[in-house]
Symmetry: C2
Subunit: 204 residues, 2 copies
């Protein structure tokens, strides 16, 4: 019987992606299934704090095993920006196109010699009744392309070339290829491995 | 009027130390004041997870602003040990003497050329109603002495020489001197600075 676990997100694309990464051993419950339909607050100063806050918000209301993730893009030449502001880098509209335009422009302003190295970074927080808290981290290193390529993925994928993708952008990878190397894939697989070591109330 | 905040610990020495570090702007409430007298679980795999778990345990039961800390000693030649096992390195008796003996012995086994560099590391977690979660970190770098010196402090202080202590061990420092440079002092002062920026429900 698959293990039931609440995913602390209101984002349906994230749920589908997580469900594929976690595999058939897990049945993901979403907050709406439990009557929680409002936005989940994320007012932390770091990706990790946001991940903690989202998991705690849902755990506080459900007392059920739950997890959340928070991810960001960290560009070296921009001192780690957009980081915690990744989703709303160009403003509250959260437009991927506007965000990518702003990032390419900022890198241009940084000059032709500025390194284009960057990484996607995920923190996933798991809360089990007790409570017990476990934090998992995943990183996908790469670099920022000069322009867009590819139609897959979402967010900054068309301008991010992962080190492990033979020169293609993340938007040129199949879902399976991306999940195998992505920050979120790494963090959530670690979380899944951890949960597979749990029996009743004891985890190893 | 001082800000009331719950310190998620059952350790009276920690409460006294934190109260000195935080200063007169804060009134520390301890779990026993709220009828919570059992040990607070700390079963995390890392200092940070333990710090999160302790704060969440108390927040879950009180719904009040609260914080916790978890600290450990990381010795380079021992791959970061004792780390999360700092308090019970030599066993569940938690004897400071037995812990220091074991650490000195392990370093001897590591050979005469093994570096003696080490650091004390604190993670402090603040949870505010909402919930909001903030994590603060403090580090005191130094090295492991060849033997014990001094009678102040507690734990491994007699065998730890902080880089900022002119060759004295942490146990040879006054409380004020130690708090000024300690891992816990740094983390809790950051936490206090953060709280001073809070007005009502808004923090900056």
């Amino acid at each position: 019987m698959p293990m039931k676990i609440v995913f602390a997100t209101q984002n349906r694309s994230k749920v589908r992606e997580a469900s594929e990464i976690l595999g058939p051993g897990f049945e993901l419950v979403v907050p709406a299934d439990l009557g929680i339909t409002e936005d989940i607050p994320e007012t932390g100063d770091t990706l990790e704090e946001n991940s903690l806050q989202k998991a705690m918000y849902i755990y506080e209301r459900t007392k059920e095993a739950c997890f959340s993730d928070d991810s960001g893009l960290e560009v070296d030449a921009l001192g780690g920006a957009p980081g915690v502001h990744t989703a709303r880098y160009a403003g509250e509209s959260r437009s991927a196109d506007a965000n990518m335009d702003k990032l390419l422009r900022e890198l241009e302003l940084a000059g032709p010699d500025a390194p284009r190295t960057a990484r996607f970074h995920t923190f996933a927080t798991l809360i089990l009744p007790g409570p017990e808290v476990h934090v998992f981290e995943g990183i996908m290193p790469g670099r920022i392309a000069l322009g867009r390529s590819g139609r897959g993925g979402f967010g900054y994928d068309p301008i991010f070339i992962p080190d492990e993708a033979d020169g293609r952008t993340a938007a040129e990878l199949s879902e399976e290829e991306k999940n195998a190397i992505s920050h979120r894939g790494k963090a959530l697989r670690e979380l899944a491995d951890f949960l597979k070591g749990c029996h009743g109330n004891t985890c190893q």
